[in-house]
Symmetry: C2
Subunit: 419 residues, 2 copies
């Protein structure tokens, strides 16, 4: 157990976190419940796709040899022996000089080897068609098994399930699919100063926003939140609430991990967790950060300031939850933008600056969302993304290009186009 | 009622659809249920943020005048009259020569006008502190109302709710928020040739994948699906099932809107809908497309081919559902990529080509996902996005830059960074 505050870079902290993550076990889900989940097993095709030779167009199934001489001015007449809709099959096939009227998707009758499209025909009467164009063998046929044969790999393990995958699984005649389960994440706010919504804020208490924004971040990461409530700064209460979270895959606390005298969380996490690390991460906002395991549960001790809690969640907890869920794209998308206005920063820390993005004449610009204090949640709400600075920078000048991590919601839709 | 097939551009079809869309009414939701919804009303701040002058750091609250001469080598001694944690308030304030030990977030005692950080002090004993640095008035104080005052606009109507907004609403002491309701969307597959998963595919039936992929697309667009099932090609059954969908905000059918003889859907939609338009949209895949209103319900008649149904949903239905939900970012994000290999296309049609994207040496490339037949759902599953071509192009050459609409899932995460 390391109780001293280690100084650590963002990258090293993240690597340590991700190296501790195990991908979760799998569960079998109904197709629609599997949307956005990650497949835990290969799915093998069980059927021919298409299931039989079928028509790619509405028209007439013919023997191509019969219509080899057909032209617009010198059409070939064929006897129409049947009219087949999709979903029905020819009862007898066709012979020389015969044709079957056929709809898109309907099976090709025995004996036919091509389809003449409706627009290249004239229906003379119910039993005669005039073919005005020759077609090569195979024309406008879709062959059985052209797309898939039984035994082909339909979808590999690790695939994130989108609507196309759900359609594909349905067409494979299956109502379920095996996916990695969602991480269950216990969330605990701590501190005598924290009141819940609607509670009295007598004396000097502030309303808990962290457990709300963190719960929403857990949902947004595809995980299931378990809200433990608010613990007073009381070692017994704190330890008992943390123990209640040990049935989850991860516990997130906010507050109580810095160097202050009243930081009971640090002691409680340290006492319960044999591998807890207490770090000063070289970043702003969000310096104090604790990470480790308590029994089989990952424990994340986030700072108490609202913005610092959200940013450390984004950088360390979210990628871990995605990895647990079997995902391979762990990080938020980023875009590059020109900074408006100089920004001074502390050397040695990676600063994450809340930015509004906008476009002018095909150039993307990043504008800070006002004061960057780590208590100012509104500046996080105004932000499309976080500009990521380098540890060794001290000044980022107006016009410099910065990398901005998009915070989701509409920003991805607004700014991807313009980057 | 227009029953003839009109030729129409993608843009005109989309404009006609979007001009018919009404934004839906609102409902009051629990905070977490509101995640990803769009706010239907302004929310006004009800509280000061921060609620009182408080300390930005752990340290000592002082009168700045008392420590004006303090330096590392010639510190100033002050009497410590109290130790205040966050959540507690000084009982008596401070006078000349006095200090109060204070934690981040705790209210500033009456009489104090600055905070000296812990690292610039030495605790001599329980009632004496040595101050080693002078601080100007206001140093490390956060002023009451610095971020928000009652009456300020906290969040405007139209805001899409992300985790930061949920934290902000919680800190405004509210457990609910008014948002536009989700569109309810009825989904109907049609055709004698369609069997449901697990049903016998005797004779020449194929398994319904459209209602599955479309249901997943409806969910993915933030709407609520109502699955009506599969209608046979029987006018009575079809009309009765369509009527069952009229309680929804929109009905989506797939199949039966082209010019074939067995296209009962077209007649049923035409008979029920006073404003139905039957279009040939100048696009591939997905030419036949019907749109209009039946009573107060928007009706979308999508083509029956699996890929054509998904692509027309993406282009016409999804933006309409997002607009109904109050959203303003109606379209998928796009990136620009270099095409690999020449692609020939039909002049006069906008072609949407399924593409895999990959990056090499900071350049994004688009590679077609094999055969582009509109029945080949697997090529949609393999695709990161759809390359959008212009109507008047006939050949797009290898190396040409194409705009690719990202289809969601991991593709947004993978390729935004690289564009």
């Amino acid at each position: 157990m390391s109780q001293k505050q280690n100084l650590i870079s963002v990258t090293d902290a993240r690597d340590t976190v991700l190296n501790s993550v195990q991908v979760l076990s799998s569960e079998r889900l109904d197709l629609f419940a599997s949307l956005d989940r990650v497949m835990s097993e290969n799915v093998i095709a069980t059927r021919l796709q298409p299931p039989w030779d079928n028509s790619a167009m509405d028209g007439y199934a013919v023997r191509s040899a019969d219509v080899a001489a057909a032209t617009d001015t010198s059409p070939t007449l064929l006897s129409v022996t049947e009219h087949i809709a999709a979903g029905y099959r020819s009862s007898r096939g066709i012979g020389k000089g015969e044709a079957v009227q056929i709809m898109t998707g309907a099976p090709i009758p025995e004996g036919a080897d091509a389809v003449v499209r409706s627009e290249d025909t004239d229906q003379i009467d119910d039993s005669t068609v005039s073919i005005k164009k020759s077609v090569p063998a195979g024309k406008d046929l879709r062959r059985a098994g052209e797309d898939l044969s039984p035994g082909d790999l339909l979808l590999p393990a690790g695939t994130r399930i989108r609507p196309a995958e759900i359609g594909l699984l349905a067409s494979n005649n299956q109502t379920y699919v095996s996916v990695h389960r969602r991480p269950r994440v216990a969330i605990l706010s701590t501190g005598d100063e924290i009141a819940d919504i609607g509670e009295d804020t007598y004396d000097a208490r502030i309303i808990d926003s962290n457990s709300y924004s963190l719960t929403a971040q857990v949902l947004d990461a595809g995980a299931t939140p378990i809200r433990l409530g608010i613990s007073r700064d009381d070692p017994t209460e704190l330890e008992s609430m943390l123990r209640a979270g040990l049935s989850a895959d991860a516990i997130i606390t906010s507050g109580g991990v810095s160097v202050g005298e009243y930081d009971f969380v640090k002691s409680a996490l340290g006492a319960l967790g044999t591998t807890m690390e207490f770090w000063k991460v070289a970043m702003t906002p969000g310096r104090p950060f604790a990470f480790g395991t308590i029994q089989d549960t990952l424990a994340f001790g986030l700072p108490g300031n609202p913005v610092a809690a959200m940013v450390t969640f984004e950088l360390f907890v979210r990628p871990a939850l995605i990895k647990m869920s079997g995902g391979s794209k762990l990080y938020r998308p980023t875009v590059r933008a020109k900074l408006l206005g100089d920004i001074g920063k502390t050397k040695g820390r990676k600063q994450f600056l809340r930015m509004q993005l906008f476009e002018r004449e095909n150039q993307l610009y990043a504008n800070p969302t006002g004061a960057q204090g780590s208590g100012i949640l509104r500046s996080m709400s105004l932000a499309d993304g976080l500009a990521i600075t380098h540890e060794d920078q001290t000044l980022i000048r107006a016009g410099d290009e910065v990398e901005v991590m998009l915070l989701g919601g509409d920003s991805v839709h607004s700014f991807t186009r313009n980057c």
